[in-house]
Amino acid sequence: MPYDLQTWIKVAAFAGGGLAMGFGAIGAAIGEGYTAAQANSALARNPGSVGTIFKSMLVGQAIAESASIFALVIAMILLFSNFTATSYVTVAGLLGAGLSIGFGAIGSGVGSGFPAGAACIGMGRQPAMSGRLTTNMLIGSAVCQTPSIFALVTSFILIFSDFSKVPVNPAWAALLGAGFASGLGAIGSGIGGGVVAEASCEGIARHPASVRQVTNIMLLGQAITQTPAILGLLVSFILIFKKFTATDAIAPGMALLSAGLCMGIGAIGPGLGEGIASSGGVRWIARNPAFTGTLTRTMLVGMAVAESTAIYSMVIALVLVFVV
C-alpha cells in the first residue's frame, strides 16, 4: 500500500522523537543514580554534614539532567510541529535530528554524574572545602555538557534547514550520517570530560591547597577531551552543507552514511581514553602540585597520542566524503 509524503514525514517525526527521548534518557539516569549512590556513601561516613551534601547532590543531579532536557526539547518539537515538506530528504533529516540528540545526551548525562558524586564524597571528607568543591563541580559538569550542546546544534540544523532543493538520493544518507556523527561522537567526550572533573573534585578534597592548579588543568584536560566531539561536529557540518550531485546508484549514499558512522563510532574510544589520561594527570597534580609542569606535559602528549585513532577515523570519513 503506497503512502504519501506527508505520512512518511509524520512517521519520521514520531520515530525521531521516540529515539531522541529514549536514548536521551539513558545517560542522565545513570549519572544521577551514581551521584545519589556517592552521596549516600558520603552521608554514611559523615552524617553531620547532611545539609551541604544533600544540597550538592541535588545541584549536581540538576546539571546532569540538562542533557536529557535537551533531548526532551527536540522530542517535543518533533512531536508537536507541523512539518510541511516537499521532499523525502526531510524524512532523513528528522530521523537524523532524533538520533543526534538521543545519542548525544548519553555521554554528557553519564559524565556529569561523576563530578557531582566525587564532590559529595569530598564534602563528606572535607566539609570545610564545600564552597570550593561546589564551584569546581559546577564548572566541571557545565563543561561536560558541551558535547550534548554540539549534538543539540546539529539537531536544530537538521530540523529547521530547508532541504527541498537538494537531490534525494545521496542527501538522505548524508543527513542520517550527520546525525550519527555528532550524536555518537558526543558520547566519548561527554563521559571523558566527566572522568576528568571527577578526578579534580577528588583531588581538591584530598589536598585543598592545590585547588588553583587542579581547576586550571581540569579545564585544559576537558577542553582537549572535547576534540573528538568537535571532529564529529565538523564531519556532520560537512555532510549537511556540502552540495551533492543526484545519482541513482546506492554506493555514494552508503559512502556518506558510512562516513558519519565511522566518525561517530570512532570518536567514542578516543574521547573516553583522553578523559582517562587527563584524569590521571589531574589526580596526581592534586597530590603532587610541585610537579604540575612535568605532569601536564606528559598528560598532553599522552592525550594527543590517545586521540590519534579519532584522527584516523576523520581521515577515513573525509576520504569517504570527498574522494570516493
Binding site: G260, L261, L272, V301, A306, Y312, I316
Partner: protein, 82 residues
C-alpha cells in the same frame, strides 16, 4: 530503482570501511588513555624519572595503537583496492 551487483558491492565496501575504522578506533583510544593515566601516576610518585616514564608510555601506546592501524589499513584496502 534497480540495484546492480557492482553497485551493491561498492556500497558494502564503503560501509565496511567506515565500520572497520570506527569500531577499531574504540579499543586503542581507551587503552592509550589508560597507559597515559598510569604514566601520570608513576610520574606523580617519582618525578625524577619523568623522561624515562614518558618514553615508556609512548612505546606502550604505540604498541596498543597497532590494532587501530590495522583497522586503518583494512579500511583503506576496502576503499581503494576492493
Amino acid at each position: 530503482m534497480a540495484i546492480e551487483g557492482a553497485d551493491l558491492v561498492k556500497a558494502a565496501a564503503y560501509l565496511g570501511a567506515g565500520i572497520s575504522m570506527g569500531l577499531g578506533a574504540i579499543g586503542p583510544g581507551v587503552g592509550e588513555g589508560m597507559a597515559a593515566a598510569k604514566a601520570c601516576e608513576a610520574i606523580g610518585r617519582n618525578p625524577q624519572e619523568a623522561g624515562l616514564l614518558t618514553r615508556t608510555m609512548l612505546v606502550g601506546q604505540a604498541v596498543s595503537e597497532s590494532t587501530g592501524i590495522y583497522s586503518l589499513v583494512i579500511a583503506l584496502l576496502l576503499l581503494f583496492v576492493v
